[in-house]
Symmetry: C2
Subunit: 365 residues, 2 copies
């Protein structure tokens, strides 16, 4: 079965060998306070920076899942609120986790048909500022939460918006949920402060590990907040990673597999080119097919890595039947889009033949 | 290299095949909300109950690490305090995590030379009761934290004490850190409410997964507390496991490997017999050797699964040299015992030849 599921998704075929190597090299028994682990961690961090073009002054730490990052960010980087702008289920869930931590957390839900641009962000933030009174809102010590790639509906935030928001809000931190885009497209690191993802999407790895990338401004804020209260407080995570260690026994095998996959990957610029070419082919096939429709109407809001396609419930049943017969598993629609959409992962681990097969199905459906 | 390190430690040799199977069976891409995952989870829970003799009315959930359990327990099961009795570094760390959550958390540190019996527990709890005034202390809504097996110094809590404490404190919950004993010895489940461990010790598995076993009383308390505030709140974990799911994408591979290892394991009664026979041989070898001494003086306090041995710093250097030459890695002493002790894992995954080799080294050192 070829899985086009949006995650956990297809892993790189080299994993078969890497797992054997892990067993033979004693990775499964590796002491997480030992020299060998430190060297592995150092190499993994260097490879992440090198292959994903992460600026050298940014810090990388590991968590268990992107869901855990939803908690870590408001907990360790903000004083009393975060600002959430989203158009889908995962952005909303992040807001929910954050609002458990800070009662004063603010949100706005956009429609899938809207373009997320600077104006929308400004309108929302001005509104909350007016509502809350000048003292409390748009605090310099707070943080704006955005979903770079919304896995539930296949929308993304255009790079132009990311740059505009950064330039217009130079005092607030800006965090991006890149669960299903990191390692698939080149992220504009310098225009954001916190970027996180889990490895079971574009990294082509098994689930159980998340990566969080932090700007020097985020690190400064973390130190100022000085939160050490929690199992997953960022400060002890940061202090440990300086010594190439973790706060507790991590998923050592997961880190090893990440290192091995990164070694063989090309630079993200090359991967992005491939991903975008494939995305274009998928989108063109859907646009040309009268039985199918794109869920995201505005071209600049369409994700490169998750393609969400709308159709009738009858057509959806037929599409599932056809793909299954071809040995392909597609992703179901999510939440309110369950009955009339499906999703296709455009993750780099899928190979040329698989992508061509899927594209043909969309063309000739 | 044969690792007698106390964790991450030797994995079962079948892991080599299980990892290949995982790749071939598509476990690395398995959707954690799908039917196949639910079936795997159901089977894993049934195997845990069956092989470890967990009472059928107890609930099993998964976390990322035993360290995470240190936080979950005070967070989701207590109102304003926990009571900690320990004699080593990991028991103390648990207290530290708990005291970050509840300011009123109470602790007593025993000496390694003391026997932990009911009297000691009573003295401590009576003391805190007197100090705090009758209203606030020994609240029926709180919890006693004990380290069943202290990995840092090779001590355990005798079963007699576990039974006595349960019978004398029927209203408080009692939680046991079994990080390095679960799946190595038979735990007296009915005499405790929360039992947790990570899989990289006696389960013979790679790190990145923890198991938490809860009594019906613990579940009732959890519902009464109704904590949903956190990423790792117990209530949503519990609700999800009723549907054989997890709150977020878990370490799917880790759960699969656990299932496969459990399938091939004998019942815990049989494993315990083997572990205790081996422990006896180790202890006898050390007692007979004038250059070595046991760190834990009282026989009933000596762990079955972690053997801590004291010697001079010079002898320690020699021991490390000899074991290394024999292809054996031993565990360093921990914390205040770093300079003059070493630790040997007596975990079930070690095979007869390895254990005999290690026993001979201790005999003829």
């Amino acid at each position: 079965m070829i899985t086009f599921n949006v995650g956990p998704s297809k892993v790189y075929p080299e994993l078969e060998i890497f797992l054997q190597n892990a067993y033979n090299e004693g990775i499964l028994s590796m002491a997480h306070r030992g020299v060998a682990f430190g060297e592995m961690m150092k190499k993994t961090l260097a490879l992440l920076s090198q292959k994903l073009n992460i600026p050298p002054n940014y810090t990388i730490v590991f968590a268990s899942s992107a869901t855990e990052c939803w908690e870590i960010i408001p907990q360790s980087l903000t004083q009393e609120r975060t600002y959430h702008i989203f158009n889908g289920a995962f952005g909303e869930k992040w807001w929910k986790y954050a609002s458990n931590i800070h009662l004063k957390t603010e949100k706005i839900a956009l429609d899938i048909s809207e373009i997320l641009n600077l104006e929308k962000v400004q309108t929302f933030l001005t509104f909350t500022e007016r509502r809350g009174g000048k003292i409390q809102v748009l605090d310099e010590h707070e943080l704006i939460c955005l979903t770079h790639n919304e896995t539930s509906n296949g929308s993304k935030i255009p790079n132009k918006t990311i740059e505009d928001v950064f330039n217009n809000y130079p005092k607030q931190l800006i965090a991006y949920d890149c669960t299903s885009s990191m390692a698939g497209v080149a992220l504009p690191w310098n225009f954001g402060d916190v970027w996180y993802a889990s490895v079971q999407k574009c990294f082509g790895l098994p689930a159980g590990l998340a990566i969080m990338v932090l700007s020097p401004r985020a690190i400064a804020r973390m130190k100022e907040r000085n939160d050490r209260k929690h199992y997953n407080s960022l400060l002890p995570m940061y202090e440990n990673i300086q010594k190439y260690q973790t706060t507790h026994t991590p998923n050592v095998l997961g880190i090893y597999l990440l290192m091995r996959v990164l070694e063989k990957l090309p630079n993200i610029v090359e991967t992005e080119q491939m991903v975008q070419t494939r995305a274009k082919a998928y989108y063109n096939a859907v646009i040309a097919n009268k039985r199918l429709e794109l869920l995201v109407s505005h071209q600049e809001m369409r994700s490169d890595t998750v393609i969400a396609i709308k159709t009738t419930p009858e057509n959806l049943t037929e599409m599932k039947y056809i793909t299954k017969k071809e040995g392909i598993e597609i992703g179901n629609g999510y939440d309110i889009w369950k009955e009339n959409t499906f999703r296709i992962a455009n993750f780099p681990a899928l190979d040329v033949e698989e992508v061509e097969k899927m594209t043909r199905i969309l063309q000739f459906f």
